[in-house]
Structure formats: structure tokens, C-alpha cells
């Protein structure tokens, strides 16, 4: 219930964005421009915080008027929404944000009211928690696997498909030896990088018994 589903934590934050009428460009616009240029692949700051399954940053300009006879009302601030799904506990995650992605954290939350900076990580954690909302209902379809587990599983799934293709015409003895090499390669390889476009090719398919006729490799 609440912010957790199994091993996955669902963080929801609303940070009020600074309103400075004297500024040449509003903080909300500057924030949007920064976010539009921020990498989303393995160079993303969230790929560094490797326990992140999925995360989003959204500038919420206002609430929505759904039409009469509902009452029309407006927010007095714009808010930065931070929605993240990650493994482990909140304090560890926020501390990792401060330690592993300080430049991006400063660049994003520096546009928000009362952001204390990162010189004192404890103050940063307190600030982030003061912006947190409790999730009323949280659903995670796969909630018992870490990011690392999932990337590893995708790597093995892809590797096994390649192995099957490669081992189609092998004798039982050859098959046994080739599988032993494949599995050793699986166990010795690191999991793929988070957010990478492909799970990569296991070393056993680049040399040795399994190296010929690999999909996608001339």
C-alpha cells in the first residue's frame, strides 16, 4: 500500500517552481528547455542512479478546468512533478541523487522554491521529502525484480535465442560443450547498461564454439 509495491518504491513529488517577474526568462520555461536537452539514453542521470526503473519530470502549469457546471480555479504556482519507480528505500535513493548526479539535481531543482543546494546532503533529503506526496494507490506489474535483475534477464533471453539459432545442427556432445561455453559467458558478463538501446552481444558469440552465424553480426 502507499508508496511501495513489493520491492519497488513509487516516489511522487511536487516542487513549487520559482516565480520571478523580473527574470528575462521564467524559471518554468528555463526548466523545460533544460529538460528537453537532457539525455534519455545510457547517458541519462537516472542511468547513473542504476536502481531507477522509470522516472519522469513534468512542469505542471495549472490544474484543469473540466467545463461548467464545475468551478473554474487556478494554481498560484507552477509545480515540478518528479515521478520515479526505483528499487530500495527513499533515503538511499535521494542520497544517491545528491552524490551521483549533483550537476543535474542543481540544474533542475535550482529552479524550485526553497531548494537548499547540495552542500548539506541531509538538508537536500529533508527538502525533497517536504515536496513528497503519499501515493494513494500504486501498481507495479513486476514488483519483485530489481533493474539489474531485469536487464540481466533480457540479456539471457536474447543470448539464448542466439544460442538456439547457432546450435541448431550440433551433435549432443558439441551442444553440451557449446552450452557450457554460453553459460560461462553469461555468468562472467556484466549486465547491460541501463537505458541502452540493445542488451549487447555476449562474448561467447564473438569468439569460440558459438561465434559463427550470429544474428546481426556479419
Amino acid at each position: 500500500m502507499g508508496n511501495r509495491s513489493g520491492n519497488v518504491y513509487g516516489l511522487t513529488m511536487l516542487s513549487p517552481i520559482l516565480d520571478d517577474p523580473a527574470a528575462e526568462m521564467s524559471h518554468a520555461v528555463a526548466l523545460r528547455i533544460y529538460l528537453a536537452k537532457l539525455g534519455r539514453d545510457e547517458k541519462s542521470p537516472f542511468a547513473k542512479i542504476s536502481s531507477t526503473h522509470m522516472a519522469r519530470l513534468v512542469v505542471m502549469d495549472d490544474v484543469v478546468f473540466v467545463g461548467y457546471p464545475a468551478h473554474e480555479e487556478h494554481l498560484k504556482s507552477k509545480y515540478l512533478i518528479f515521478e520515479a519507480n526505483f528499487d530500495g528505500d527513499l533515503d538511499t535513493y535521494l542520497e544517491r541523487m545528491a552524490q551521483e548526479t549533483p550537476d543535474e539535481v542543481e540544474a533542475v531543482w535550482g529552479h524550485c522554491v526553497a531548494f537548499p543546494g547540495l552542500t548539506d546532503p541531509a538538508k537536500f533529503v529533508t527538502y525533497m521529502k517536504s515536496c513528497q506526496l503519499t501515493t494513494t494507490f500504486y501498481f507495479a506489474d513486476v514488483n519483485d525484480k530489481t533493474v539489474k535483475d531485469t536487464l540481466r534477464a533480457l540479456q539471457i533471453q536474447s543470448g539464448l535465442a542466439t544460442f538456439i539459432e547457432r546450435s541448431n545442427e550440433m551433435s549432443p556432445a558439441e551442444l553440451r560443450a557449446a552450452f557450457a561455453e554460453f553459460w560461462k559467458s553469461v555468468e562472467e558478463s556484466p549486465p547491460p547498461l541501463p537505458a541502452a538501446k540493445a542488451v549487447g552481444v555476449l562474448p561467447c558469440f564473438l569468439s569460440g564454439k558459438n561465434s559463427a552465424r550470429v544474428r546481426g553480426i556479419p
Binding site: A70, S130, D141, L154, I156
Partner: protein, 198 residues
Amino acid sequence: MTNINGKTYAMNAITPLKPWKTLILRAFFFLLGLIKPMQKNLVNLSFIHFARWVIIPRRKFPYLGDRQKREQLRYDYLLFFSNFNGTWNQYIDAFSAVLSSGLNAIWGWTEKYPGAVPVTPFKRHIARCQFDTDYYYTAYPYATTNDVKAAHRVESAVRAFAAESRAMQPHEFALAYQKLLVTVQSDLGETGEPPVGT
């Protein structure tokens, strides 16, 4: 588009509701969390990685001091965030067709909700309440929810096979290997770039 990263779409929506209705909606979510069979259709759809509903009471918007004006609102607000596979239209169509009673039990307490069926006014209402994502990250952009589940099944089967087959003679090994292939054959779909969607 920033709402989409690989095969996953980030949806955000906000809807107003009268504060007295918040209590009823909270009670429904409490039951939904408690009684797992009520989540069956959501699980069976199997194209949502993560989703959440967050109720913000009108006086509970974060207030961080003098540099911010206090909100003065008449409504509470229901925020909805989803990480799903497929296009917006596929998602809303599937929701409307399969989960209409569940959707009505949730958004039926919000203002001006037209009901999940028929789908045309439902889509129009969602489009009005939705707002775009500025930055979206996923650690496995080219894997759908079904890909993730299949990959975990394959990994589990292969690990078990690797452990059990270690001492087998070649012919016994080949037979066990054939059984492994039968077990995992429907879970070996390849992940990769998504088709261009609308």
C-alpha cells in the same frame, strides 16, 4: 515526443473532485489494495509497467515558505501517472473496453466524468485532463511489460537447466535441452526498436 521513450508512454492526468468525495475514493483504493482479485483485469492487460493514483487534498499542496503563494482551492485533485506500452489510442481503447467498471469506480467521483463507455466522450475528457511529460527515462526502453515477464521466465528456466544439466551425459543433455526449448519457445521474442505509432 517526450511522452514516449522506446516502447513506453508516460501519461499524466489531473482531475478535480469535491473534498467529501475524496473519502469515498480513498476507501475504494484501500479495498483495491486489499482485495487482490479486484486488480485482476489490470494485471491481465499486461501492458502497464507502473501506474499510480495520488489524491492531493486542496490544502495539502506543498508549501515551502514566503517565496511561494499559498494555494486557495475549492477542489481536491486526483493525479494519475501511467507507464504503459503501445499508443495512446490503444491504451484508452483497451481501458474503456476491459476496465470500464473499474475506471467508473475511480473517476466517477471526479467532476464532469462522462463514463468510460462510449469511448468518444471518454477520450475527449482524458485529452482535456492530460498534460505532457517534459522528460521521460526508462532503464529498459525497448522491452514491453510482456517482454520483461517473458525474460524473467526464460532466465529462471535456463538457470535451472544449467544447474541440473551439469553432470549429464551428452544424449541425456540433448533431451533435457529439447525440453528446455519447449518450455521457453513462446518467451523468446526479440526486443528492439518500436514500430512508429500514432
